[in-house]
Point group: C2
Chain length 409, copies 2
């Protein structure tokens, strides 16, 4: 079966930056199970955001050290855990020199759009952490390991919602009788999404100037909690974010359905995006590692499997909820974001499928399993965390604490 | 005469960030002379780069405080000087609150491509200083003065050298039967140029999300030392950079001609760029201020008047030099940069001319006047500073000091 063969990693050394996070943890175990030598690099700041803002994952997760240790017991495989900040060059260069990666998978960024829009400080933090961290990773590869393949997570949100088809990273333009293939124009909608646009430009330059092999994965919204490995033990379970800062629309809707709260659609609900199952995220990463970019190439894949609007998601959760006996209602609330609520959206996503990805589609099974988690951990749900917390237009001038920036409604 | 009428500023309050620099100083005096109320904001870090790297302007410049004081004596006009770093929010927000600008002209960035390529630290410094500083300026306007017009200096280098015509900021693309006007694709060639690409994306978002009025000026390479006001007194003279880090090709060639050194053309010399006279820079800024962008609009002007290749510049300096009795030779040296040396280049620049700019062209007069400066200050020339100092491909891993990073040849 695709992506499940054991030991096809053949000892390939993969550094996973951000390996304690949602996508990173699932990927680390997926690769470790398949014979890749895995090193997790993470400063654990994601856990700190939750502490700062009073948020928590629905599913109780073990500490980074405990879950790596548990994985060793369960699988007999060792994962190296290096706790540190990639913005700290001394730490990063030592991690590189000691681990000697063949490939680096870079998930290690602040990844919430609302978090980046809390106020000026959070905007500056997000771009500083993400853009400068990625520059350090580029220099680490250039100076210490120039054949190392960088697999970097971008987002479909870099493209915005143009009125033409979205291609995979580049577009061929004929203009005044001449033709060139150029980076696809970017119109991101938050300081977080913009940080990824900046990364893409910096990486494109580094590939050209220094002949590095780079894959930029413009990932859609990831859903799901279960992967084979993270379900192997309670201490390996992945995080499930449902709050208004880190939770995505589908996760929020599922939790709202489970606790009997109407699904809160932002604005008209016509906002359409690409989505994928966490089980496909881990396989896409493996595919990228197994089929590396050429030196000097910055290859871009759009990493999603299906397109849905917010209204589509609400409809699916309503239907699946009713099968489980839940009476699900939907309400439209003012959109805290600045975004088009009705727009054309047609994004290409054939490159990963050409390399062998067979998608897991968003069907009954996955929504059921999400609903099961939400029902199982119902007592941990704090419904007040689901209300929009950050308004794109209204962040305060100065805030003493992160929570003070959260708009009370 | 265009741009010379006095008191047409009518008291409009203009904050000039980077007003102690080359373009900023000339602009500050130009606007002050014409009845605008001017405040210079600058942390004087440009003077510090020279100290760090052992460089100096050809023309001896007075201290920031002295030249502002001298301007008061010469013109009877007061310029407010606020020394501080725009990355320091406490300083910037206080400067905004006390001065209450109607327009902000933002020159205040690290602007040398070679400086940004010295090594990792200089790359990180450049993007951090420029991108985070500009985010602070955007928040200052949004939070403190949302009607204030931001006039931001970008660079023609953001576009790179595409094989199609370069438009002014946006391009209309027809693709698979649909059409949209999107930001022009960017392919910048150094961490400095990339920082401007990032600024442009951040500003485009801020204009859309917060309805700010923004003008992004993609400026070409500026040449010339003389403006009416900076020539009014020795203490007002502008800087003239000729070293390999901060000097541009034309400035370097002129100094080489003056001291009898062959002009050093990087590679084949077919690299073509947009250029303009410093006397046009100051008028472009005035035109932008007098014709502000609409709220919510990020308007982009390509701010240059002529296109020249490096070989064109060498030829012009050779011809003009020989008229002054100089025997000028040219040599081709290995290109320290990663860039196309023969390429298509056709960039549009009609928008500023539609608003009234009448260009000063690069003719005998201007090259003569540059040569006169170079001959006058010949004793201050240190020819070893003109040799390429930074190689795009070779920066060292770690450096104790900036100078240690400079490639010795
Ligand atoms: N989850 C999604 O739906 C989604 C969608 C598109 C793209 N992505 C991208 O995929 C990546 C992973 O997303 P996720 O949902 O797993 O996020 P996450 O926040 O759960 O994981 C990111 C991890 O990176 C770590 N990190 C952040 N800054 C770091 C630094 N400076 N040094 C070291 N570690 C650092 C955090 O501690 C965290 O464990 C991100 O880059 C994100 O932008 C995610
Ligand atoms: N000179 C050119 O040919 C040219 C061409 C295209 C674009 N530009 C752009 O025009 C602007 C001005 O260029 P220049 O040649 O006058 O550069 P310059 O270095 O002479 O001036 C920039 C000024 O900004 C100040 N500064 C830098 N960072 C600052 C910070 N964080 N806080 C406060 N002040 C800060 C410096 O001290 C300096 O005085 C720059 O943004 C540059 O990128 C210049």
């Amino acid at each position: 079966v695709q992506g499940t063969a054991h030991n096809n990693g053949g000892g390939t050394r993969v550094m996973i930056i951000g390996g304690d996070g949602y996508c990173g943890w699932a990927t680390a175990l997926h690769l470790s199970a398949r014979g890749y030598a895995v090193c997790i690099v993470d400063n654990l700041v994601r856990r700190n955001y939750d502490l700062q803002l009073g948020l928590d994952t629905l599913t109780p997760i073990a500490s980074a050290h405990d879950r790596v240790r548990k994985w060793g017991e369960v699988s007999g495989k060792h994962i190296d855990l290096q706790v540190g900040d990639i913005c700290d060059w001394e730490f990063l260069s030592q991690a590189f020199t000691s681990f000697k990666p063949d490939a680096v998978v870079h998930f290690g960024e602040q990844r919430s759009a609302p978090y980046s829009m809390i106020d000026r400080q959070h905007a500056v933090y997000t771009q500083s952490n993400n853009v400068l961290g990625t520059i350090n990773v580029l220099y680490a590869i250039k100076e210490l390991n120039p054949d190392c393949h960088l697999v970097k997570l971008g987002t479909m949100g870099e493209y915005g919602t143009p009125n033409i088809d979205i291609e995979e990273g580049y577009i061929t333009i004929t203009h005044n009788g001449r033709t060139d293939t150029l980076p696809y124009p970017k119109q991101a909608g938050s300081f977080y999404h913009l940080s990824k646009v900046h990364d893409s430009h910096n990486m494109h330059f580094a590939a050209r100037a220094w002949k590095l092999p780079i894959t930029d994965l413009n990932q859609g919204v990831v859903y799901g909690v279960r992967t084979e490995e993270t379900m192997a033990d309670k201490a390996l379970i992945n995080r499930y974010d449902y709050d208004a800062i880190f939770g995505t629309a589908l996760n929020r809707f599922v939790v709202q359905a489970a606790v009997g709260h109407p699904l809160t659609v932002y604005g008209k609900g016509g906002q359409t995006r690409g989505f994928l199952d966490i089980r496909d995220t881990v396989r896409c990463i493996q595919i990228a590692i197994d089929n590396p970019a050429n030196k000097g190439e910055m290859r871009v894949f759009n990493q999603f499997t299906e397109m849905w609007s917010v209204n589509d998601l609400a409809r699916i959760v309503t239907t699946e909820g009713s099968k489980l006996g839940l009476n699900v209602k939907t309400i439209n609330i003012p959109n805290p974001r600045v975004e088009a609520e009705e727009h054309y959206y047609n994004a290409k996503n054939t490159k990963l499928q050409d390399l062998g990805l067979v998608p897991n589609l968003l069907g009954d099974a996955i929504v059921d399993s999400l609903l099961e988690f939400a029902i199982e951990y119902k007592d941990r749900v704090r419904p007040e965390l689901i209300k929009p917390a950050v308004d794109w237009r209204k962040s305060p001038v100065t805030v003493a604490t992160g929570t003070a920036a959260v708009v009370k409604q």
